[in-house]
Each structure stands twice: as C-alpha cells, then as structure tokens.
C-alpha cells in the first residue's frame, strides 16, 4: 500500500512540476505578445479609430519603434530631414542656410524654425518684409517636419501667412479655423 501512495505522490509532483516549468517558459512569450499588441494599438492614441476597417486597410506600426531610444531619436531626425528635402523639392523651395525660400507667384516666403517672413511682391524693390511665427498644433514633431509642414501649406494656400500673422488661432491647410478640442 505504502509504495502505491508514494508512486501517486511522485506522479502528482511530476505533474505540478511540469505545469510550473511550462508556465515559466511561456511567460516571456506571453509578455512579448502583449507588448506587440500594445505597440499595434499605439497609433490609436493619435485619434484614428479603425475597429471596423476589416481587411480594407491596416495601421502599420512605426517600423523603428523597436530601436533603442537614442538610435530611434537619431533615426527620427534623419528621416525628418529626408522628408524636408523631399518636400522642399516638391514645392520648389531652396535651402539657404537654415532657412527655405519658397516662391509662390510674386510672393517670396522664407521659412525657418518656427519663423516665416514674406515679401508680397519680389518684383517690387520697395516691398516691405513681413514676419511672423508659427507652430504646428500637433506638438513635439521634429523641426524639419515643422518646416516641411509650413512649406506644403504655404505653397497650397499662401494666404495662410496672414492668418498666422493675425495670431487668431490654428488653421487647417485649407484655411479653416481649427480648435484642438473640437
């Protein structure tokens, strides 16, 4: 009788040991999946709801999120500069020092870090230089992307300069007023 009880106890211990061991091995995997799911949900924090998109479209996670902080930051700035060069080429803007010069009709804009100046008529030697500051409502984007954003908007809608100079709030690219809380 006693050997039978010992055998049963040993069997139970083996089963318990197997579950404990298996649990410790699957833990990191479960955590990795959880992290992955968390990363996939990150773009949702930016306000895009995609729950019913099905197979039509997917939100791709930023492919550089897995990098370490320093590398990611460096890479982010390099990529931002690349986008700025690309958008400068699209808009016909030329770089002079830290500024980008953009001609739209007779107007000439000079865009640099959160500052923009305008000559209304580059054919008029007496034309006064006007200046104002700007900042994107979406905070924290790299400076190069801020400049690229301003170049795109001014090329499509040069009248935005007057809205920015009036300091009367934020405006969408089409000139409509925008309140961040709306």
């Amino acid at each position: 009788m006693a050997p039978a009880i010992v055998s049963v106890i040993a069997f139970l211990v083996l089963i318990v040991w197997r579950f404990v061991f298996a649990g410790s091995r699957s833990g990191p995997l479960a955590r990795a999946i959880a992290r992955q799911q968390q990363r996939h949900s990150n773009p949702l924090a930016e306000g895009l709801h995609i729950s019913d998109l099905g197979t039509v479209a997917v939100i791709a996670e930023n492919q550089f999120e897995n990098n370490s902080g320093g590398l990611r930051s460096l890479d982010r700035k390099d990529r931002a500069k690349a986008y700025l060069r690309r958008i400068a080429a699209l808009t016909g803007a030329t770089q002079t020092g830290s500024a980008y010069v953009l001609d739209v009709g007779k107007m000439r804009f000079r865009v640099r870090d959160r500052h923009v100046s305008r000559l209304r008529d580059i054919t008029d030697p007496g034309c006064a230089l006007e200046e104002t500051c700007f900042y994107p409502v979406h905070r924290g984007m790299p400076k190069a992307e801020e400049i690229a954003t301003a170049l795109l908007q001014l090329m499509n809608n040069p009248a935005l300069f007057d809205r920015w100079a009036a300091q009367s709030g934020a405006y969408k690219a089409d000139g409509q007023a925008f309140s961040p809380g709306q």
Binding site: P43, E46, G47, L48, H49, I50, L53, V56, A57, V58, I59, A60, E61, N62, Q63, F64, E65, D75, R76, K77, R79, A80, Y83, R86, I87, L90, T91, T132, C133, F134, Y135, P136, V137, H138, R139, G140, M141, P142, E145, E146, A148, T149, L152, Q153, M155, N156, N157, L160, W164, Q167, S168, G169, A170, Y171, K172, A173, D174, F178, P180, Q182
Partner: protein
C-alpha cells in the same frame, strides 16, 4: 505595391494607413481620413505632387496628413 497614408508626429513620420490601392474600398479609406481630420485637423496631401487632396484616389501611392498650424 501598397499605398500608405502617413503623418508627421512627435514620433517622427508615422504610417497611419496601409492598403492595396487596386482592391481597397476607397470610400472606407476616405471615411477614415475624414474621421482623422475631424479629430486632429490634419488634411491629406499628395506626396507625389505636394498638392492638397480633397479625396484620396487609387492614383495616390503616398499621402501625408498635414496638421494645422497656428501663428504666435
């Protein structure tokens, strides 16, 4: 080749949408873009021409949602 809609954000360039332009439901794509604009004020631009888009079509391979700017 997939088309994508990206934006500039605090994390740098971020892809918001990726889809096959040949088969995607463009009404649905534009609905999502309109929803994003309603929340953030960002509007779509064509990264091939630099022009603002009223609607994204199958011809656009890369779009950029451009966020509002304020003067200050």
């Amino acid at each position: 080749m997939n088309a994508k809609i990206l934006t500039f954000s605090s994390r740098g360039d971020t892809t918001l949408l990726e889809y096959d332009p040949a088969t995607a439901d463009m009404e649905e794509i534009n609905r999502v873009i309109a929803e994003y604009e309603a929340r953030t004020g960002a509007q779509p631009f064509d990264m091939a021409t630099g022009e603002r888009l009223e609607r994204v079509t199958r011809e656009q391979n890369e779009g950029l949602m451009v966020h509002p700017i304020a003067g200050g």
